[in-house]
Every structure is written in structure tokens, then in C-alpha cells.
Symmetry: C2
Subunit: 435 residues, 2 copies
């Protein structure tokens, strides 16, 4: 307790930084403010950082939640100037420079770093969420995992062939990296991992369909890579339908629209990898502090990552609408958030010394998407490749960016096991009500 | 599909075995019936086998659920005579030799192996369950984990010193192996793992109290080992109160009775490691087939593991009340269930050849309980020891009995990491309602 009072006293004169969100942006900002002169408070609703790019592996039974999560306190414990609070921010009081928490407490700041991220977006169809869960949290991934593995169990028990086929039809909505990775993992699951596990159904008869509204999947990537990704998916057994819109999702079927025609597909398992929208704190800041938002609710920031008129607020990561060198908005991916987090931290350190930094410039080290065992696409700017070399790059980039050493070894080991045995041992169905 | 019809035809003449429950008893019975002449159906409400002896490690953040679970289908896939159904058994129709499932389907049997296990028992105080969760399922362990880690988070946020102390007081009810292991792990957590993680509280000020109603903890073990276990726990910082009964559990306090005196302890986290009772299928079988039950609802079986008058029914594992060589009931531990599962399977194989087996005899290879890093007690019959050697035995026995190779390597690796870094990386707080 003496320790606490001491640090509280010496801190009163220090610059107070509050970081909202412990994702890639917030965590990297915190780490780069570690042992700086600032007094840092990191607030997150969870007690762990989640390595979201591998969440689809949890959803498909390849990894356990603990493998891709790092306790925020453990990651930051050696920085004595950083405090972590597990709490939910209800409001930013930009005029009073306060962050208000749901439990009624308030935390004053001199500089605020807002990194609250995004959530799913069902394009005005909130009813779809129950039928087509997205993939943002551990709970989302466990729910997806439950539905995927329960579908095979239900098919095994179903005597009616039509209903059985509906249990064995998996629809993945959205042809971005998440949708592509999910569809590829599902194909591996049905066509390799589970092939000998059942006695009445043949999992190899499962249909996996990837739906994309625009003319091609991975539309943010060069067209040649999109084509390669599509061919790789088809080789794995995935049916890719681009230019296809989802117009309705019911309990037993999904209605699609392509070329002006409607068709209904019988399917019991629909996975959402499509739209995202900014966290509501962005809208709240727009209302009270007059910052500008874009069409999906992201806060528009200038080249120093500040919203207009608020140099004391940094908005980073998926919550920010930040223009890249070509004027287009930077994509909502982990490397952008990490670089912005580091930039905000370095800017605060410079300002404390009365200096500043040149504008933020995103260094794009490349785009990667994995399709399955040995198959990925990579666009490193100076080189584009696919297949096994891209897959290797994908494996090592993802392992290198895991936050903690033990997570890295765990994930590497599990992948090696999954690669050799194709087993996916983390395929528990949990979370059901068991009286 | 042709495959299915073929096996259904050839199976019609074969001896049908239905196994209810995929715990140690049921799974070992199934494995020992693998590739036998019998047609085997294993029914479990979960799709995985759970290594319950390590569940306390999930509850305290040392392991992930997937590390101690094995998909039943994966474990049994190479035995083509075994089918697995994920389903809930609602009734045994002993007269008609049918097992009825909750979804209305029925499965006929020639021989039934009932291995449905136990559940928590709150001694007639059902209201206690909400406040003092037990440790039988993955969901139980995640709920315990959530409460333990949330208690430290709440203490960090709590300004009132008395309320803060209540958040930092952990009561473990029941001085059997589960309670001892939980208390030891909590001590490691508070006094080593978390010691630098907070800024306002000192986790080393946490109180961990182990409550046991009888005069000594580990009462099934020799008295010298009970004493050693107690001393080891006290050395770790656990307060052991034997001869102490819990008479009331409220939201903010627990009332205890010892030596005729009542005291109230302020605590927000109460963990239940005390009573168990048999699964309701035992009582249902007593009602319809007239089998005898003991006082905690277990089915009394003879020396061939059959209830009286039902040689076609084996009851094994925690659900059975089976007398040992000394006439006392065998304890509800994994080795008993495994040996009984193997015995039932071998008896069925012998009967198919018109032969029989001598009565079941439990071979007690020893009792083990772990207290913490480097500390355990072991009673191998011919030798009793404690401390570091007992701990090493404990580690290797538990790893050896994990069902699958990859689980073994995963657990061994995580333990090595936890041992070196004392980190317990799987300490996520999940399952809360977000937003």
C-alpha cells in the first residue's frame, strides 16, 4: 500500500495518458510508452490482448483460446508507469478531458489514445446476427466452433437426406481474408480431419460455399492474387460464388441474389465474415466533441492521427479513418494499428520534450491471406507469390507477431501437430446448457 | 452411404453394447471393445473426453480446455465397430433393453455399460451452487477461472479497504484432492504469478483458506501424509481449517462452525470442492429395474460389476458402489473407473466366447495429491513420500494417462513454461456479457 501512495504522489506532476482498448493499436502504444515520463492508464473490457488474425483457428478447432491471448497485465507488468484497468468506457468527456467508466468512475487525461476498434455490421439486418455469428471475440469463436462441430453431429443423427444435406452445407459470407481463411479451414476439416470420424455420414460430402458480393474475393489485393486464391480454394473443394448478394437469412435457408436472379440455399450453418462498423465511442465523440466520422462510423484523423481541433486525442487502429499515401483510407488490419500505436506513443514522448514528429506514414510490408495447408497468397509489394512459399511466410509472420514467447511456441507446436496429424484437437463443443 | 448400409446389415447379428458416458470408465470400456466382435455404441452429452484430474489447472489459468480434452470420435475412429453419438440419455428401459434419448430416439442393447458419473452435491442447499461453483465440467472450470481473476480485478478497483479484503479472500470448501489442489494453485497464483501485476493492491496480501469438515484434510490418505500436505499448504501460505463446517453462504460472507462456535468470514470468492452425488440415471434405474442404491445415489454392484439380477448391465466408475477387498466402497477416482471399464469390456469379450472372468479386483497403484510447485504427497502402498519426489511422480503419472499424444506434449510444455516463468498464460476472463 505504501507503494501505491508513493507512486500517486510522484505522478501528480506527470503527463497522464489514457489508452482505451488493448488491441494491436492500444497495446503497441502502451508498450512504446513503457518507462517513459508519462503516467499511462490502459483500459480494456477484457483482461487480455487477443491475436485476432488467428481467431478463425479457434473457430475451427485448430487452436485453443489461451494460445492466442496474452494477459494485458503480464505483457505490461515490467513497465511500472503503466496501470491496467479492466473496465468498460461509457463516454469520453473531451471538454473536461475525462474518460467515464460504466461503474461511474472517471479518469482524467492530458492525452487520450482511442483504440476501441470495430464490431460486426449486418447492414441494417440485426436479426441476421443470431443466425450468422461473426468473428471478433473469443466468445464469437467458441460459438462458431460449437455450431460447426454440432452441425456434423446433427447430420450424423438425421435420417432425412435433405435435412442431413442442409446440416452439411456451410455458408461463409464475405470474401475478405477472414472469409477466405474460414472457408479454407472448413474444407480441411470436412475433407481431411473428420473424414473417418463418422459412421453414417461421409464428411467429404459436405458443401462449403464462400459468398462474396463484389466481383472477386480478396478485392483489396491485386487481381492475379485474387484469382490464385480462388483457384486454391476450389482445389480444396470450396465453392466460390462472387458477385452474389445475401438478401435473406432464415433458420433453414439463405436467399441469394446474383445476376438479378434469386435462389435459396438450404443450410443450417452460416458464418459471417463480412461487414464491420466502428465502436460506438466514435459516434459519441462526434456528438460531444464535433469530430468527423466516415460512413462506417470511423473517426477521421489528420496526418498526425488527431481528429480536427483535438491534438490531445489520438484515434488509431480500426476506429480511425486515416488516409494513406494515395488518399484512400488505410485498411483495418493489424499492421496499420501497430504502426499507429507506436507513432502515437513516440509523438507523446516527443511532445514531452517540446518536439514533434513528421506526419504518420504507413509502411505496407505486404498483404497475406492463408487458404489452407500449404496454400496462401502474399503480396509484398516488390513481389507477389502464392502456394507453399506464401504459406511459409504467413506462418512465420503470424508467429513472429504473437505477443508472448510461450504463445509462439504453443501455436507453432499445435500447428506442427495439426499439420502432421490433421487432427485439430481443440474441437470441443462447449457452452451448451447442461442442466 | 453404401458403407453405412453394409455395416448396418452385417451388424444385425452381432452383440450390441451400449456405453453411456465417455469419461474414464466409458472410454476405457470402449477402447477395450475396439475391434471386438461386438457392435458398440458410445453415447455422451459432450463430443469430448475430459481429463478431470487436471480441471483445477484450467480453473487457475495454467492450462486451456483443449489441452485436457480429447474428441471422442478422434480417439475411437480407428475402431470401425464403435459408433459415437452426442446425445443425452433420458431413460434406461431395462425390461425392453433400450436406452432412450432426449430427442425421442431409442437404442437397443444386449449389454449396457452405465458410466454416467457424478455431479456436485450441496447437501440440501441448492442455493449455494450459484455462490460456490463446483468443478466437474469445462464450463465449471471457466466460471471458476472467471471468478478468481475477476476478484483480483475488482480488488484493484475497490477503494474501501474492507471490501477490498473481501475480494482478496478466497475460500475453498472441501479438503479432498480437488480442494487441496485448488488451494495450492491459488496460493501460487496470488503469491508468485500475479505479484507484480497490479498497482494498487498487493496480491501477496490475499488470503486463501481451505475448509474441511472432518478433523483432517485428505482423510482418505494415511494420517502422516495428511499432516505433510497440511504443512506444505501452510508453507505456501494457505490457511487450513479442519473440523470446520460451512453452515451458510451469502453474497458477501460465509458462516462457519467449529468447536460449537459460529464465525462469519467476509469473502467474495467461494469455490466448492466438497460433495458429489451420483447422476440421476442411477435413481431412474432403481425405480424401473429395482437395483439398489447407496446413500449418495450410486448403484450397488456385485463383484462382477453387475447390479443384482442384471448380468447384462455393468455399472462402472463414480456411478457404481463397488466394494473393495476390505469391504469398503472403492473411491471415486480415475484409476478405479479405468480398471472397471477394462474389466467390463473383457467380461463381454469372454462371454461372447462362452467363458467368464474371476471377480473384479481393484489394484490400487497409489494415491497422489499435488499441493504446488515441487510439493505433493504420494502413497504407493509400499512407500509413502512427499515433497519434490512425489511431485515428479504426480507430473509423470498425469501426463502418462492423458489420452492423446498431442495433449501430453501440450500439457508438458505448458507446465514447463509455467514452472519456469510462473506465468499461467491461460488466465482469460471470458463468458461475460459484452456491451
Amino acid at each position: 500500500m505504501t507503494h501505491h501512495h508513493k507512486s500517486a504522489q510522484s505522478a501528480s506532476a506527470r503527463h497522464r495518458v489514457v489508452i482505451v482498448g488493448g488491441g494491436f493499436g492500444g497495446l503497441y502504444a502502451a508498450k512504446h510508452l513503457g518507462n517513459s515520463g508519462a503516467e499511462v492508464l490502459l483500459i480494456d473490457r477484457r483482461n487480455f490482448h487477443l491475436f485476432q488474425p488467428l481467431l478463425y483457428q479457434v473457430a475451427t478447432g485448430g487452436l485453443s483460446p489461451g494460445d492466442i491471448s496474452s494477459p494485458l497485465r503480464a505483457v505490461l507488468k515490467r513497465y511500472r508507469n503503466i496501470r491496467v484497468i479492466k473496465g468498460v468506457v461509457s463516454e469520453i468527456d473531451a471538454a473536461g478531458k475525462n474518460v467515464l467508466l460504466e461503474d461511474g468512475s472517471r479518469c482524467g487525461y492530458d492525452t487520450l489514445i482511442l483504440a476501441a476498434g470495430t464490431r460486426h455490421h449486418y447492414f441494417g439486418n440485426p436479426g441476421w446476427e443470431r443466425r450468422a455469428p461473426g468473428l471478433k471475440t473469443i466468445e464469437d469463436a467458441l460459438e462458431m466452433r460449437r455450431r460447426i462441430f454440432q452441425a456434423f453431429e446433427s447430420a450424423e443423427r438425421e435420417p432425412d437426406p435433405d435435412l442431413q444435406a442442409a446440416w452439411l452445407t456451410f455458408l461463409v459470407i464475405g470474401g475478405g481474408p477472414t472469409g477466405v481463411e474460414l472457408a479454407g479451414a472448413l474444407a480441411e476439416l470436412a475433407y481431411a480431419t473428420l473424414k473417418d470420424d463418422f459412421r453414417r455420414i461421409d464428411p467429404r460430402s459436405a458443401k462449403i460455399i464462400l459468398l462474396e458480393g463484389s466481383p472477386r474475393i480478396l478485392s483489396a489485393y491485386p487481381e492475379t492474387l485474387s484469382q490464385k486464391a480462388r483457384r486454391s480454394l476450389e482445389k480444396l473443394g470450396v465453392e466460390v460464388r462472387s458477385g452474389t448478394l445475401v438478401v435473406d437469412i432464415r433458420d433453414d435457408r439463405v436467399t441469394l441474389q446474383a445476376n438479378g436472379e434469386s435462389t435459396a440455399l438450404a443450410s443450417r450453418t452460416v458464418l459471417w465474415g463480412a461487414g464491420v462498423q466502428a465502436a460506438p465511442l466514435g459516434a459519441q465523440l462526434a456528438e460531444t466533441a464535433g469530430v468527423a466520422l466516415d460512413n462506417i462510423g470511423r473517426v477521421t484523423v489528420d496526418s498526425h492521427l488527431n481528429p480536427e481541433g483535438h491534438p490531445e486525442i489520438f484515434v488509431i487502429g480500426d476506429l480511425a479513418r486515416c488516409a494513406g499515401a494515395d488518399g484512400a483510407a488505410l485498411p483495418g488490419v493489424a499492421p496499420v494499428a501497430m504502426q499507429q500505436g507506436r507513432y502515437a506513443a513516440r509523438m507523446i514522448r516527443q511532445r514531452l520534450r517540446g518536439r514533434t514528429l513528421p506526419p504518420f506514414r504507413y509502411v505496407n510490408k505486404g498483404n497475406l491471406a492463408v487458404i489452407g495447408r500449404n496454400a496462401a497468397v502474399a503480396d509484398l509489394g516488390y513481389a507477389r507469390f502464392s502456394g507453399w512459399p506464401a504459406w511459409l511466410v504467413w506462418v512465420f509472420v503470424h508467429i513472429a507477431y504473437l505477443i508472448e514467447y510461450d504463445n509462439r511456441v504453443l501455436v507453432l507446436f499445435q500447428w506442427a501437430m495439426n499439420y502432421i496429424t490433421r487432427k485439430r484437437g481443440a474441437r470441443l463443443i462447449t457452452g451448451e446448457r447442461l442442466e
